[in-house]
């Protein structure tokens, strides 16, 4: 597997489905920080869920005007049902076809299982990766690394 893209690398652009009839591209968000949160799958256990945690702290991310995008290989209908069930207030992108292509471009694909790694990226307003982190797949990395990275952007 190629290594996780590291700080200083321009973030590869992509356009992925965000709803059944809409795509979102990274370049549309140029001008403010973007947090990419690759994760293995929708529907992991409730209270320890990484996406649920980020949903709770969106306001902390928004203080930095940052946009959060969740990405997994689940399809859009799955994402839609998951987001509704968990009351998520940020977009989930479907890296579904060709499967895992964006995850692979970021070095965040776990080939053996055919899923995205639990990888985090903070991209600055100019589209450059400023921080990246890959957590063991079973460990929810929390949010402190993201918040530290967002603060560092402003220094």
């Amino acid at each position: 597997m190629p290594a996780l893209l590291s700080p200083g690398t321009p973030a590869p652009d992509f356009a992925l489905p965000v709803t059944p009839d809409q795509k979102l591209s990274l370049s549309e968000l140029r001008g403010r920080p973007v947090i990419l949160a690759f994760y293995p799958a929708d529907w992991s256990p409730v209270c320890g869920d990484q996406m649920a945690l980020y949903n709770e702290i969106l306001s902390e991310f928004q203080k930095h005007e940052a946009e959060l995008l969740g990405i997994s290989v689940d399809g859009v209908w799955c994402h839609t049902a998951f987001a509704k069930d968990r009351n998520l207030h940020f977009p989930l992108l479907a890296d579904f076809e060709p499967k895992g292509a964006v995850s692979k471009a970021y070095g965040a694909y776990f080939d053996a299982a055919g899923i995205s790694e639990r990888a985090l990226f903070v991209i600055d307003k100019d589209g450059i990766i400023r921080w990246s982190y890959c957590s063991p797949i079973a460990v929810n990395p929390g949010a402190e690394g993201i918040l530290d990275a967002l603060e560092a952007l402003e220094k």
Binding site: V46, C47, A52, L53, E60, G142, E144
Partner: protein, 175 residues
């Protein structure tokens, strides 16, 4: 490994001896079933370690998953203002399946507190910031779900069962 960033202070809810050999911090949510399961576990640990263990509870309500979690946390903070935090904390977990304003009023009455005053505190959001402060401090410390425990400031990532936690606390005391 994540470490506790917010030191224990006079603002905390503390049970046990300030000079205890080990400090256990829980970030919890009164509506989270895993926290409900951890509630008797903490009691067992406290009994097992006695004066060697100090326990601190901090709020981490997952409000988008649990509609009553924030109000429950604020009800406990209201009880704190009347010197009854731990009584309310225990009752909330013991009645987790009935959380809601009727239960909060009932528990306040049981503790000799004025339910009307509790309702007013909830409506005026008197304790909202207090709960949020715990929450944001937890985020900065690497709390990644509920419950999250810290043993002497180190996040506990191992299984939440009595034997494993006893071992982790003993290791921390020995180190």
């Amino acid at each position: 490994m994540s470490t506790l960033k917010i030191p224990i202070s006079s603002l905390d809810h503390v049970q046990g001896n300030a000079k205890a050999a080990c400090t256990l911090v829980e970030y919890g949510d009164y509506e989270c079933p895993h926290c409900g399961a951890a509630y008797p576990l903490v009691k067992q640990l406290q009994k097992h370690f006695g004066k060697r263990l100090r326990f601190i509870y901090r709020n981490f309500p997952m409000t988008q998953l649990h509609p009553n979690a924030q109000a429950a946390a604020e009800a406990a903070e209201f009880a704190e203002s009347k010197g009854k935090f731990w009584e309310m904390h225990d009752l909330l977990f013991e009645n987790q399946d009935r959380l809601g304003s009727d239960l909060f009023a009932e528990l306040a009455s049981n503790l000799g507190l004025d339910p009307g005053e509790l309702y007013r505190a909830l409506a005026k959001k008197t304790f909202t910031d207090r709960v949020r402060t715990d929450f944001t401090g937890g985020v900065r410390s690497g709390v990644n779900g509920t419950p999250t425990f810290f043993i002497d400031g180190q996040r506990y990532d191992r299984p939440m069962d009595f034997d494993t936690m006893v071992k982790a606390i003993e290791e921390s005391i020995a180190s």
